[in-house]
C-alpha cells in the first residue's frame, strides 16, 4: 500500500456528464510529485463521482491524487483516499481479491471490480474515472442499492429442484454432465454484468444477465428438475428475449463467464421446448 499522498493538481474543469467539479481536496501529507525511481511507485489521480445524500442533493466529481505501487489495485488507491484524505468516501469491499463481488464499479467507463483492476494497467498517466455501476439507485458515493438486483436473482428460483426421495448417497453425475454448467457456477453476484447492460439501464425491468446466468446454472444441471419452470419465468417479456446480444455483460464479468453464451443457450432451450 502506498502511504504518501501528493498534493492535488486537478483543474476545476467541467467533468464528463456536466457535473460540476469540486475544488480539489488538500492532501494530508504532501510529498514530491513525479516518479521516484527507487521503489517504482507513481502518482495516480482518481476522478471519483461523489454523492453524499446528507450533504448535497446531487452528485459531483472530485479528484484525489495518491501515491501507488506497481502491484496496487484501484481498491488500494480508494483505501488510501478513504484512510488518509477523506474518510467519507464510501464504497463496498471485503475480500480484496475478486471473490466476494462487493466492489463492482465503473472504472474508466467500464464495469470492473476495484480489487482486480491494477492501477498500472489503467494508464495512470491520465485521471482514472470511478463511478458507481449504472441502473441501480445510488445510495452514497460508489454504493448502490443492490436489492432490485437480488430480487431478480431470487425470482429465477436459483436452487436445485428435485423430485422423489433424497437418495442416501450422492446423486451421480458424470464429469461431462458436470462440465455442462461449470461456467455459470462461477458467478459471484457482483452485478457488473447486469449494470453494464443497456437494456437494463432503460427501466430496470429486465431480469438482467446475472439472473439468467444463475438460472442457466440449474437449467443445465443434470440433477435438476425445475428447468421447465425457470424457462417459463424467463420466457417473460422482461426475460431472455430482451437481451439484444450486446456483450457488455460478457466483457464486464470479472469471473470470465461467457454470459452472453449462457443467455443464448437459455434462449435456444426455450425454442426447442416451444417447437
Amino acid at each position: 500500500m502506498s502511504t504518501e499522498i501528493a498534493p492535488e493538481t486537478g483543474s476545476a474543469e467541467q467533468a464528463p456528464g456536466g457535473a460540476p467539479v469540486r475544488e480539489p481536496q488538500a492532501a494530508a501529507v504532501a510529498s514530491g510529485r513525479g516518479e521516484r525511481p527507487d521503489d517504482g511507485s507513481f502518482d495516480v489521480t482518481l476522478r471519483i463521482r461523489r454523492y453524499l445524500p446528507e450533504k448535497d442533493a446531487t452528485a459531483y466529481w472530485e479528484e484525489f491524487t495518491v501515491r501507488a505501487n506497481r502491484t496496487d489495485r484501484l481498491l488500494d488507491a480508494l483505501h488510501t483516499v478513504k484512510w488518509e484524505i477523506d474518510g467519507s468516501l464510501t464504497f463496498r469491499r471485503s475480500c480484496a481479491h475478486g471473490i466476494c463481488g462487493s466492489d463492482a464499479m465503473r472504472i474508466n467507463g467500464r464495469n470492473r471490480l476495484a480489487c482486480k483492476a491494477l492501477l498500472k494497467d489503467l494508464d495512470p498517466a491520465k485521471p482514472i474515472t470511478v463511478e458507481p455501476i449504472k441502473g441501480l439507485p445510488v445510495v452514497k458515493d460508489l454504493v448502490v442499492d443492490m436489492e432490485p438486483f437480488f430480487a431478480s436473482y431470487r425470482e429465477v428460483m436459483p436452487f436445485l429442484i428435485t423430485g422423489g426421495n433424497t437418495p442416501s448417497a450422492e446423486r451421480r453425475q458424470s464429469p461431462e454432465d458436470r462440465a455442462r454448467y461449470d461456467d455459470t457456477t462461477k458467478c459471484i453476484l457482483c452485478a457488473a454484468c447486469t449494470s453494464s447492460c443497456p437494456v437494463f439501464w432503460n427501466d430496470g425491468q429486465y431480469f438482467g444477465p446475472a439472473a439468467i446466468v444463475n438460472a442457466h446454472r440449474f437449467i443445465f444441471d443434470s440433477r435438476d428438475e425445475g428447468g421447465a419452470q425457470r424457462l417459463e419465468i424467463l420466457n417473460d417479456k422482461e426475460g431472455v428475449w430482451r437481451c439484444r446480444t450486446i456483450f457488455n455483460c460478457t466483457e464486464a464479468c470479472p469471473r470470465g463467464i461467457e454470459v452472453t453464451k449462457a443467455i443464448q443457450e437459455v434462449k435456444r432451450a426455450m425454442i426447442t421446448r416451444a417447437f
Binding site: 464528463p16 452528485a59 463511478e131 443497456p198 446480444t245 456483450f247 466483457e251 435456444r268
Partner: protein, 126 residues
C-alpha cells in the same frame, strides 16, 4: 434520490456499438419504408403524380440520401445475419467480434461496388 447529473458514457466495445448501429439503421429504414410505400402508392393515383414526386427525388441531395439508405440497409442486413448466427450457432458468441469485422468487410465491399455506379447515375448528367 434527486436526479444526479449523468455519468460518463459507458465504454462498451464492438458488441455495444454494433447493436447501436443496428438499432439506428433499423429505425431509419422503417421510417424510410413508410414514406417509400406512400410515394409508391402514388402510381395508383396517376402516372403524372408519381413521376412528379419521383422526379423531385432525382437530385444529388436525394441521391446521397439514397446512398445513405442503402448503406443502412446493407449494414443492417449483414449485421442481422451476424446476430442470427450468434443466436443459432453454438460458437457464435465466441466469434461475434470476428463476425463483426467480416460484416464491416462485406459492407465495404458492397458499398464499393454500389457507390460508384449509383453516384455515377446520380451525378452522371441525365
Amino acid at each position: 434520490m434527486p436526479e444526479a447529473p449523468a455519468g460518463t458514457l459507458y465504454r462498451g466495445r464492438e458488441g455495444m456499438w454494433s447493436w447501436l448501429a443496428h438499432r439506428v439503421t433499423g429505425f431509419a429504414i422503417f421510417f424510410f419504408l413508410l414514406v417509400h410505400v406512400l410515394d409508391t402508392a402514388l402510381v395508383r393515383v396517376s402516372p403524372e403524380a408519381y413521376n412528379a414526386v419521383i422526379g423531385t427525388y432525382k437530385n444529388p441531395v436525394m441521391g446521397l440520401g439514397e446512398a445513405g439508405l442503402v448503406a443502412a440497409v446493407v449494414y443492417h442486413a449483414f449485421n442481422g445475419i451476424r446476430i442470427t448466427l450468434i443466436d443459432f450457432w453454438s460458437k457464435g458468441t465466441r466469434y461475434q467480434r470476428v463476425m463483426l469485422w467480416i460484416v464491416i468487410g462485406l459492407f465495404v465491399v458492397t458499398m464499393a461496388g454500389f457507390l460508384p455506379r449509383h453516384l455515377g447515375n446520380v451525378f452522371g448528367g441525365h
